[in-house]
Amino acid sequence: MTDLTKLTAVEIATGIKSGDFSAVAVTKAHLDRISRIDSKINAFLHVDTEGALSQAKLVDEKRDAGKALGDLAGVPVAVKDIFTQKGVPTTAGSKILEGWIPPYDSTVVSRMKQADMVLLGKVNMDEFAMGSSTENSGYGPTRNPWDLDRIPGGSSGGSSAAVAGFMSSLAVGTDTGGSIRQPAAVTGTVGVKPTYGGVSRYGMIALASSLDQAGPFARTVLDAALLHKVMGGHDHHDSTSISAPVPPIVEAAKSLDLKGMKIGVVKELSGEGYQAGVLSLFQDSVAILKDLGAQIVEVSCPSFEYALAAYYLIQPSECSSNLARFDGMRYGMRVAEGNAGVEEVMSATRAAGFGAEVKRRIMIGTYALSSGYYDAYYGSAQKVRTLIAQDYAKAFQKADVLISPTSPVTAFKIGEKTNDPMAMYLNDICTIPVNLAGIGGMSLPIGLDPADSLPVGLQVMSPVMQDDRMYRVGGALEAALLNHWGAPLLDRAQQL
């Protein structure tokens, strides 16, 4: 019998539509696998068994009644615990929100429900999406299915691990500086950060509002495109949502044709600090892209040197303000001792509810926005942002898409970098410029580093609202690699 958890989203949706198997069977298969292996991974913070099964039942009834079904009807999806889902606990990976049950659905959640998808539950993340390893979760780290001693990336580590561990066919994550692409890279999955404004942020707990973007995790580029299409498009609840329709990403993912396409290799995103295996696999992929008919050009983005610094000012600044509301007054934790006044209750609650990384970044942001330092720090960082956007604009005059490694390194060991925030921040060196400029970025697996047998990802970047271009490149490269490997990369991961 087919293992329903090994199927792609397209195969699941097709099988349900044609009656090969039911949505309930698909859901049960995934719920079974979660209960069997997630104690080792810790991807799920909350499994919504009842909700998932009742939604699957509705899909089957709809199908039996001959009603039209969405493209991803019955396909299971894991939701990063940063999205509100009415009636389902939502914590953003923080103790300060433990037990909070939102009274409303995020737009991403409501669109997936409308598309007849089955929401399996909420998955782990670095607290309030601050981190690159999911070690900063208030609910324990998530482990990489490839090697349980290693991190699954972050902050969307629960999403990447759920998909890589075949506990869910699809997952949604959020990406502020690389939090979808880096976890995808280190788990051998596909992860996409759409153009800023391409997917509504309504109901997505904000880290840094001007950088945050929701996107899909999948095991194939086409699956990612289908989920991106379901999630994306204009939403009047989000002022920064783009009113134009989602670009033709599904068609692009299927096109497999790169003839005449100009692909730029970003000079600054390689060299020192990059693992040898990461660089050599990247070069192999460049060669494949050339064989597929693409023209390879080198582009230079000199301001990227300042991207990390700008990011670690803008993100903490916005976060220090966004996280102010967690003060123990209206929802979530309240620490009150004796007859303490409101200022003391707020300060004690935040001290008890936030983890170290969150506190660090709130402090940096508070500092950077203070009147004496605003121009030197926050103001300058916003100017660097302009320079980075200008670098991209110039590069996109030379090339249709840009490529780089997604992460300089493969999955590192749990605990390896927890005491060195600066080393941790370097994980996002390739992904951060994309968020600063608001463009689209995708990571797809390109092989295993021979040194550690761990997955390596390649990043494709496309201009604002030209997300179809990265899907076109990703789809074609994926097909060529699959042809070369003979089987999907994830088949080489350990059996759990």
């Binding site: 939102p102 409303y104 102010a324 003060d327």
Partner: protein, 502 residues
């Protein structure tokens, strides 16, 4: 510390004023979400994820609020910024759901305007031009109720209760430039400015501007400097000034207080003070005042506001007649003096008078009622004129009942009180309470006959031609008929009865 009188204070110091007025817009929905703005709803029912600041929620900007603030800016002769941003003002306070307020910082939508206001003086009035520094858009906070403790005030309360219905109601903040050189007139200038601003905003129809409901609130900044000095003194900001009368009183009492502080060689503390309606004084605000560090930065969840020139031009062309122009037009039409006009303006009743006249009332009578009896009642009830529950049409109706002889002046006052008391329309009240002037001669003659028999001495005098003595008899008749008789009629019938002529 010695107390100085207001006049003494002015012999040594001159005041510098700055006024910040917050106006709640009367949009149907809040500024950043679709919750209704209705006043007086059950607590925490006009709330949603956005105005409760729930995790994940995002603000969306109300177009009507933007349009309203641009109209206010245009009416105040301001520049309209071609590009401006909302900004976050960060500070923790439990009435603020997000622990930041979405406001504007260095890029207000409107800036650099003025408002001409008429300030009464011995010679009638003077026009004072008040510079407008900026007009910006922000959100209101929730409402705190302090419980426990002895005073019901924030200090010493055991805990507080929060209702977020008001959180997110659109507020427009109008900040004046420094107002200098007003000397003795400072309290009057402050009052006249707020009054003129209120008329202007009401005239635009963008706010109910009811001070008693808090839809117009004023903070008064005041400093004193020695006469002739170029350097501004330390200022205080008096909050909670919520009626026109209070604006005047607050400025006056703060001038006197600061003068006494300076006079005794001490320094004025830069602080927030609260106005006390009870005795007109001001008292210091937060005890643990710390230097505020608001960490303003552009609101990333809302996009810049860039009104195009055509939109602004259209809004400008649609502005209603400005209150100043309207004042001139009405003064000419009514043919009244500057002094009389000022008293109409200061009463806050100019629109009421105009509407009463439009309803068919004579202008002098309309002014008489609103400036006189109705102002007296408003004062007594501590309400603004326009919140009295009597309409201009009803006032005109009362006046027409006088003209037709149904009512006399005294009965009209009874009818007005009854209308305000919710007892019905003037006509209904006259009918139900049998208040019409007695015009049945038989009844009156009977009353006159009684009075004649009771006062033979007076009657004798009248018959001798001392007609002024008739007052006593007429008074007795009026008393007997409970004021329902027309005094002129009584006089006429009395003389006929006694066979004398005037």
């Amino acid at each position: 510390m010695t107390n100085l009188s207001f006049d003494d204070a002015l012999t040594r110091f001159e005041p510098t004023l700055g006024l910040e007025v917050h106006v709640e817009l009367n949009t149907a929905t809040k500024v950043f979400c679709a919750c209704p703005t209705s006043f007086g709803s059950e607590p925490n029912t006009n709330v949603c994820p956005v105005c409760l600041g729930l995790p994940g929620s995002l603000p969306t900007l109300n177009e009507k609020a933007v349009e309203s603030i641009i109209r206010i800016g245009l009416a105040l002769n301001c520049q309209i910024a071609p590009w401006s941003r909302m900004a976050r003002k960060n500070y923790f306070y439990p009435d603020m759901p997000k622990d930041f307020q979405i406001s504007q910082y260095d890029e207000p939508i409107c800036f650099d305007g003025y408002l001409d206001v008429l300030v009464p003086d011995q010679d009638g009035s003077t026009t004072v031009r008040i510079g407008i520094e900026r007009v910006h858009l922000e959100e209101d906070t929730g409402k705190l109720t302090h419980a426990g403790g002895s005073t019901g005030r924030i200090h010493g309360a055991d805990y507080s209760l929060v209702d977020y219905n008001r959180a997110g109601i659109p507020l427009v903040e109008i900040v004046t430039k420094v107002i200098d050189g007003t000397k003795h007139a400072a309290p009057l200038v402050a009052k006249a400015y707020v009054s003129a601003l209120r008329d202007l905003v009401r005239n635009l129809g963008v706010s109910d501007v009811r001070m008693e409901e808090g839809s117009l609130r004023c903070d008064a900044n005041l400093s004193l400097k020695p006469i002739g000095s170029e350097t501004l003194g330390t200022r205080t900001e008096t909050k909670n000034v919520n009626s026109l009368r209070s604006v005047e009183r607050a400025v006056r009492s703060e001038m006197v207080r600061q003068a006494a502080v300076l006079d005794s060689g001490q320094k004025v503390r830069q602080e927030t003070r609260h106005f006390q309606e009870s005795d007109g004084s001001t008292s210091p605000g937060r005890s643990k005042e710390q230097a505020e560090e608001y960490r303003y930065f552009p609101e990333p969840d809302l996009l810049p506001i860039a009104p195009d020139a055509a939109w602004v031009a259209k809004l400008k062309s649609e502005l209603p007649e400005a209150p100043a122009a309207k004042r001139e037009r009405l003064q000419a039409a009514w043919g009244i003096s500057d002094f009389e006009m000022i008293s109409v303006i200061n009463s806050g009743g100019i629109d009421l008078v105009e509407k009463t006249i439009a309803a068919g009332c004579d202008q002098a009578a309309a002014r008489k009622w609103w400036m006189g009896e109705l102002s007296r009642i408003a004062n007594e009830l501590d309400q603004e004129l326009e919140s009295l529950s009597i309409s201009p049409k009803q006032v005109a109706e009362v006046e027409s009942l006088i003209q037709s002889g149904t009512l006399n002046d005294k009965l009209a006052r009874v009818v007005i009180a009854a209308v305000i008391n919710g007892e019905g329309s003037p006509a209904e009240i006259v009918a139900n309470q049998n208040l019409a002037v007695v015009s049945d001669d038989t009844a009156l003659l009977a009353a006159i006959d009684v009075a004649i028999t009771q006062s033979p001495d007076v009657v004798a005098k009248i018959k001798e031609g001392k007609l002024q003595a008739a007052g006593a008899v007429i008074g007795a008749v009026m008393k007997a008929t409970k004021g329902q008789a027309d005094a002129a009629k009584v006089r006429q019938l009395l003389f006929e009865r006694l066979g004398v002529s005037e």
